[in-house]
Amino acid sequence: MSAEPVRVDPDRAERLAEPGAAHLVEVRNLVKEFPIRGGILNRTIAVVQAVSGVSFDIRRGETLGLVGESGSGKTTVGRLMLRLIEPTSGTVRFDGADITYIHGGHLKPIRRRMQIIFQDPFASLDPRAPIGDSIGEGLRIHQIGSQAERREKVRRMMDLVGLSPYHARRYPHEFSGGQRQRIGIARALVVEPDLLVCDEPVSALDVSIQAQVLNLLKSLQRELDLTYLFIAHNMGVVEHISDRVAVMYLGKIVEVADRETTFRDPQHPYTQALLSAIPVPDPERRRRRVILKGDVPSPVNPPSGCRFNPRCQVRAELGGPAICAEQEPALLDLVPGQGHHQCACHFRGSGTAAPSTAAAGPASAASPAPGGATPAHGG
């Protein structure tokens, strides 16, 4: 396969690139702090800053990949968006309406339009419910159709995700991990949502099954006109499925760009390091591997300024400029006004403090490296 991207469905790409393409989801300055309680009085002694001021948009019909290592807050972002946990501050707009603080009866119709699939296919299904009941749960809750219509809908949905109708009366423990993931997908999609949050849906699966489930998600997206927020830590998987990619580090988004740009021309030092960690299945090819020093700092006590500064290879090469530890970089357009590539770094793009003295040129940092999953032709 050449270095040129050939996997983009041309119509889709055009539709997504449309300038006025409405945003299905707009997240602004989302913050979630989890209190740590302790002592005899059970007082709050510290807070974990799981998500600290995250803003992004998801366009209708696209797949936004959200990547980051464990503890970066990506799962929390997904659950905040779905109102499964309450944000400390910030807003979530869904289809133009602010849904951050609505409750009860007002929330229920919104719930139907946003669904989630989970990482662990064993924990995500009620072990005591036949899977037909699990899949039809949403129809029952929202009282969609008659009993017979619901059964028919469940049957059609099972067919769509590749399950046989006679499976409906079986229990989760009778299925394999991949099958269970399909059941979870069917349960989420049976209520015909607009948005699907995929919370590491393939991380727990066998590699051969991963591709199946990913391709299923892709074809379902085309057929049902779905919008995905795809949370993952596997760059190969993200490259395979995303239209745009947002990279998170320690509760903050550090870079947002379309898929090609992210993988071919990453700007943020963390993204560069992350991409250099993708194994290349070619022993002849040599590549500069950026090895980060140290561990991810504790989100209870994050570093001042740029959260990446204690481990940043670019900062080290620049001799440790003070601004990194003093001032928090904003997530800004790399080229002002263009808006399709944003990066939060003092030494990148429009807000650059010391232009192009950064030693690690972006082009040399990482070669386009297709990761683990073999990309199927998304024609």
Partner: protein, 314 residues
């Protein structure tokens, strides 16, 4: 049991070949494969049969004295069994006569009915209230949880029998109040079991999925959490029936439970305890009855726990 293992398996399979759900079928199969549980089930089945057909089995009315029937009798008469050489002109009393010249055998038989009702009713009341408290505490968490569970701790901090006696003293003696007292004292056990289950299930992904689908809290509790918490509750409840039978018998023995002339095992032991040396059989048989019924429910409870434990699934 002299059946060989393959034929036993075949019998078990045949017994459980109904189109019932596979989960239930597996559970029944697992229980039937455990010898102790089968022993317990057999005893319980016998007890239930005896309780249901007490009127047919018992040769005499439980509360009728031989004097009223114009039959000769001696206070504390030893068992008179015709097959074992008791003269045929004497009335047969398998377990002898008690101090009121009543047929002890008939009273023990009718006692099974009383005790089973006591066990079931007491545990049912305790489970319903305990489950409710545990579910609310576990699901809402925070202050509600704290208040409810500390309340349960208060109940647990007293020796249960002493507390039960106190409650009966306040409410007034009698079998119904004794049952109520035992139910109240055993609420914390079920509340704790339920709360623990709720806490473990509440954070699971399938509950999150239900919430994402728009299910209400009540719906999540009743449709997702309760069915998954049922296993430990059933085990605890089965063990609890034995315990309730024993404790109500104890209250009756002390004199605050069943009142005369109820044919209740604990009360029977109490009323004839002054004949301990001259007619020990009057204490022995009700005692055996209590032991057997408690044993049966404990064996079943243990068997259920093993059968429902997924870690032991073969």
């Amino acid at each position: 049991m002299t059946l060989s293992q393959p034929s036993l398996d075949a019998a078990v399979d045949a017994l459980t070949a109904s189109p019932a759900s596979s989960l239930r079928r597996d559970t029944i199969r697992n229980i039937l494969r455990q010898r102790t549980a089968v022993v317990g089930l057999t005893i319980m089945l016998l007890l239930v049969l005896v309780a249901v057909f007490a009127d047919v089995i018992a040769p005499f009315e439980p509360n009728v004295s031989m004097l009223d029937l114009g039959l000769p009798g001696t206070r504390g008469l030893p068992p008179c069994i015709h097959l074992l050489g008791c003269p045929a002109d004497q009335t047969q009393h398998l377990m002898g006569l008690d101090s009121n010249l009543r047929d002890a055998f008939s009273r023990v038989i009718h006692g099974a009915r009383v005790s089973l009702i006591i066990g079931l009713a007491t545990v049912t009341v305790a489970i319903v209230i305990g489950t409710l408290i545990g579910a609310v505490a576990g699901y809402s968490g925070g202050r509600t949880d704290n208040v409810l569970m500390r309340l349960m701790d208060v109940v647990l901090s007293f020796p249960s029998l002493i507390l039960a006696i106190t409650i009966v003293t306040v409410l007034g003696t009698g079998l119904l109040n004794a049952m109520l007292a035992i139910a109240i004292v055993s609420i914390p056990v079920y509340a704790r079991v339920m709360r623990a289950s709720v806490l473990s299930v509440r954070e699971s992904d399938f509950v999150t999925a239900s919430r994402a689908l728009g299910e209400s809290s009540v719906g999540i509790l009743s449709r997702r959490i309760l069915p998954n918490a049922l296993t430990p509750l059933i085990v605890q409840g089965t063990l609890g029936i034995g315990g309730a039978i024993l404790e109500v018998a104890a209250l009756s023995f002390v004199g605050v439970g069943a009142q005369p002339p109820t044919a209740e095992w604990g009360f029977m032991i109490a009323s004839d305890r002054n004949l301990f040396f001259s007619a020990p059989h009057l204490i022995f048989f009700p005692g055996v009855a209590i032991t057997l019924s408690v044993l049966a429910f404990n064996l079943i409870g243990d068997g259920l726990r093993d059968a429902l434990d997924p870690r032991l699934n073969r």
